[in-house]
């Protein structure tokens, strides 16, 4: 409990310190370059100076934090990936050569591509279908809330939920995992799903799809509602049926949004770590890059060189989407 009090006091102190910083720097700036009470050229020159400095005062704390926590680490990780495990001796490209020959790394890359193919596609697909269906029924909003709910659940919590679904008991005894119970009900024999090489990847992906479908649904639902009524009415008058309207009128109009949803989930998939750690910790051929990187970071006292090299690989995979995002953002803010 003391610790909670400490946290809240520190938090208040932090917020007050921030407020004080903004207030004080702003006051000092105005005191050094006053614009009120002065006349003519002097005042307008001071005004120009303060207007040039003030934005940087406003942004300084945020830019510092971004620089320390995100920008510097990117360069440092790239630098470390050319160093050995302690980060002191330059080893050139040997960490990357090691990767190419490492079976576990190749397994991770393979699995990551599986995840990249399956999870964004299915999440977007389910999100779109659910968005389209729930728009037509009176209890659509309740349904949406329930499907959106897993979004609030942590990956680890979701892993426990689904591990319970996949729970396996030897054949003949009563199954307490619902999946095996259904399988045995229909006469099949129970399986230890998460130890089934190759297929277990899909059982892990189900968890992320379960979480992310709600996200896709919310965004695509808003996009569907944004389609102008006139185009739909025109299609109806021309005699188009429901499916034709959906595939030929609605989908083409929301391509941009679909792409945004797809790429957002793709980024998330590249970073997926908690689910694999909690479900299998990479055993039974389910390793992925993010978990492998975490593993090397601490394995045998920690190999920073190899860990950083794996992080760089993840970063390289993210870069195309990053560039695409930046270009989109620039196009939008260009007019502002």
């Amino acid at each position: 409990m003391n610790q909670l009090v400490f946290a809240i006091v520190t938090m208040l102190a932090g917020v007050l310190a921030c407020a004080f910083y903004f207030f004080a720097t702003n006051w000092i700036l105005d005191a050094i370059f006053p614009s009120k009470g002065l006349s003519g050229a002097k005042a307008s020159q001071n005004l120009r100076t303060t207007n040039a400095i003030r934005p940087w005062l406003f942004m300084l704390p945020a830019l510092l934090a971004l620089a320390i926590y995100l920008v510097y680490p990117v360069f440092e990780s790239v630098r470390l990936s050319f160093h050995d495990r302690s980060g002191e001796n330059v080893v050139g490209l040997s960490n990357f050569f090691w990767m190419l020959g490492d079976g576990e790394f190749r397994q991770s890359i393979f699995n990551n591509f599986l995840w990249l193919l399956v999870v964004p596609a299915l999440s977007t697909f389910f999100g779109l279908v659910i968005a389209a269906l729930t728009d037509r029924i009176w209890w659509g909003n309740i349904a949406k809330t329930l499907i959106f709910m897993p979004m609030a659940i942590s990956f680890v919590g979701a892993a426990v939920i689904w591990k319970f679904v996949y729970d396996y008991r030897a054949e003949g005894s009563e199954q307490i995992g619902i999946l095996n119970a259904i399988v045995t009900y229909f006469g099949g024999s129970p399986e230890a799903w998460i130890t089934l090489p190759f297929w277990n990847n899909f059982f892990l992906m189900v968890i992320l799809i379960w979480i992310q479908t709600g996200f896709a649904m919310v965004i695509l639902s808003a996009a569907l509602r944004g389609i102008p009524e006139e185009t739909l009415e025109a299609a109806v008058i021309d005699g188009a049926n429901g499916l034709q309207i959906f595939f030929k009128i609605m989908i083409p109009q929301i391509w941009g949004t679909i792409a945004v949803v797809w790429t957002t989930i793709t980024i998330l998939v590249l970073k997926v770590f908690d689910i694999v750690l909690a479900m299998t910790n990479g055993q039974w051929q389910t390793q992925v890059l993010a978990n492998l990187m975490f593993d090397w970071m601490f394995r045998g006292g920690g190999d920073f060189g190899r860990g950083a090299a794996i992080a760089v690989v993840i970063m390289v995979l993210v870069v195309p989407i990053m560039i695409w995002n930046i270009r989109n953002a620039m196009r939008e803010t260009g007019g502002h």
Partner: protein, 381 residues
Amino acid sequence: MSGTTRSPLTIVVHLSVLLLVALWTLPTAGLLISSLRDKDQLAVSGWWTALSTSTQNLVYRAPSPETQVERDGKFVVAGNLMEGQQAEVSAFGFNSREPAAFQPGETAELNDGERLTVQADGAFEIVSDTRMEGTRGQRIFFTAAVPPRFTLDNYREVLSAEGIGQSFINSLTVAIPATIIPILVAAFCAYALAWMRFPGRAILIAVVVGLLVVPLQMSLIPLLKLYNGVGAFLGVPAKTYVGIWLAHMGFGLPLAIYLLRNYMAGLPKEIMESARVDGASDFDIFVKIILPLSFPALASFAIFQFLWTWNDLLVAIVFLGTGNEELVLTGRLVNLLGSRGGNWEILTASAFITIIVPLIVFFALQRYLVRGLLAGSVKGG
């Protein structure tokens, strides 16, 4: 579109949505129901049978012979197999090879001349003509039909014995300041990027958008080294709450700045211009006009940041550590998955405690969450 009523197609739509909703909610429902079930029942039957009577094969160890009492020249150990709980015993035995050899009411001859009688309600008696020897009680195997039993015992156990209580406080300690502190920092920066003119603004916006997707994995090793260095230099531990608050702030800032900037840029220009004509400075405009108007966006970000910091595992185990005292809920849950993998009563109750806070936040503030998602993602569409 919605003019079609009661057509077969509408029924199909209702049924498919119902099926999808069931698929999406049943796993969580199973977890919640299981966490409330008696642990012996949970271990042998599925949660969907929670309301029906379950037949269980159980073992009971009678009190040690030292507790025997002398009655009518005979020595007796008595008790109840169900220890006071309701159940219907349908068979019993004293041997693991024949656990159901006898019917309730029958008397079983034990090997050493003792006689065991078990009644249908679970009451049993071991009777011997001579004083019973030894310290270990007789094992009694029995089959019982146990009515459904719900209990909060699982929660009581995990909160005290499994350290979930401490972890809950740790999670709060991490999440609350990590949510609040970045807001002001981000808001000032967002205002500058939205409404102040200075060279390099477009580049900074592009950098923020780029940083949105930088994988956390890139930051881990350099920051770990940095924290170790700073800790050694200042003579303080490298893994502290202050360290993790700052880390969460750094990782949350791109989204915060991006969301708030988009929102502020959409506020009407006239408000700011008329305030400026009245002689208000940028600082006044921001504090008195923009900040109050931006409340919905601030709330959206706060919810995101809270869910993210509460649900985070990676940052917590790297920057706060994995010791017993500082484990957050997600970390504790991963540990329990390893150490108590088969004890579903522990895992389900712990998991539910882990997810209950975000679920409450979700249901209470869903409106802001949706608004934030839309502001943060719908672009280019």
